[in-house]
Assembly symmetry: C2
Homo-oligomer: 228 residues x 2
DNA sequence: ATCGCTAACGTACGGTGTATAGTACAGCGT
DNA sequence: ACGCTGTACTATACACCGTACGTTAGCGAT
């Protein structure tokens, strides 16, 4: 390996590689610690090299989000529509937990990109096939999406907080400083609140509430069956 | 040697003043553009002067969040519990819309601080009085809270996105580039999706779904039939 | 008068995203 | 074989960030 190799190879960089490196960095060093300089260093290039493939940081974020959303599975066939809705929501949640940075990416930018549309198409298709009219399908989709994102983001936030000893200590002290005279119910329910923060059960509880609400309403109209 | 804590600050600087200046800056220049240097400049002091009253930026964030959460009204008395829940959720949403930075503050840190506990106490009290057992009350509280935060954060995000012409243009172009062969339902429902993104109606739709789910479940045990 | 305490300031460091300009190589028309 | 041109990457620079550290000024108690 004599000196000749020091000349940089010409085409060592491509969008796919950059996205993968960016994702890797986000997950190992934390979403907040992510930086263009960091991913450039990981790839062994200067920070400006990335601007050949992405117009700016947000553009790279878009690409990473799209890359991750591609991992959401397709809607399962041959099940009842509530089960299909459940499947989509759980799949999205699982992906969010697997890649916590995705929660931040989805929260900080609107629905955009091919893969996000694919997921929306799946859920909207289920709702329309179930007999929801256009408006109700759209409303329900937005409700479900924001619920999944909100609930899971919260779960992730609490989990990462628990890992930071400084923040965790502060949280505990403020919790304990709450007078049971002033906030009797919070103090009384502290164990339950701690236990029910996050977890599959908590997520499914809210999801089932929404589904129960949907089924109890007369939103679903199938041509044949008016009601059960 | 008793008391004698009254040490007047040399100049006019105190936590309340700093928090107010910080809040003002967040709302005028945008949450992202907020910086310690900015608020210090607004107060006419050096950046380091703030560290006398706050340990770091996060500590100031905590104070601002607490300051804003104090604006959530108390739970109205003498109404049915679903109406009380509705009132709390709507009040919180209204405050979030009025102060968009609060959404970011609540999303990025867990429940902490006196005023956040006050709001939780109100909602938990309503649920417990309605007959929910401890665990269900805690679960329901978390569900409602994450729904309100998720739905409203999304709404705020979409609204701010619409204000940024660059992002708005990109969103439109990606929307229009979606083939109606690949994503027929998304394309068909585009008007409804645009119309149902945000707004009181959309928020209430999801909230009513959750409340309908609660009422249709047997989670509520009226005082007469209270067993657990 | 002197000490200790502390609010506030100034300086400096290491970090960020990115605008701008420069540089080396690939592939091409001739 | 040669020079041109476009592309991929580097180098430098700027404005800004949070904050660690050291300094100064003025008060209260001794």
């Amino acid at each position: 390996m004599a000196g000749a190799k020091t000349r940089t190879p010409r085409n060592t960089l491509n969008p796919e590689l950059i996205v993968r490196a960016a994702l890797d960095l986000m997950e190992t060093k934390g979403t907040d610690a992510f930086s263009l300089r960091g991913v450039a260093a990981e790839l062994g290039v200067g920070p400006m090299a990335l601007y050949t493939y992405f117009r700016n940081k947000d553009d790279l974020y878009d690409a990473v989000r799209n890359h991750l959303m591609a991992l959401v599975p397709a809607v399962p066939e041959g099940e009842s529509w509530p089960d299909q809705v459940r499947a989509v929501c759980r799949d999205l949640r699982r992906l969010l937990l697997e890649h916590p940075c995705l929660a931040q990416l989805l929260g900080s930018r609107p629905l955009s990109g091919h893969e996000t549309a694919r997921v929306a198409e799946g859920l909207l298709g289920v709702l329309r096939s179930a007999g929801f009219d256009k408006e109700t399908a759209a409303r329900t989709h937005t409700t479900l999406f924001t619920y999944v994102l909100g609930a899971t983001s919260w779960e992730i936030q609490m989990a990462t907080e628990r890992r930071d000893p400084e923040a965790w200590r502060r949280l505990r002290t403020t919790m304990e400083s709450l007078s049971s005279a002033e906030f009797p119910t919070v103090v009384e329910l502290a164990p339950e609140l701690a236990r029910t923060t996050g977890g599959d059960e908590q997520f499914d509880y809210g999801l089932d509430l929404l589904l129960a609400g949907l089924e109890s309403s007369n939103a679903v109209r199938t041509p044949a069956s008016r009601s059960r």
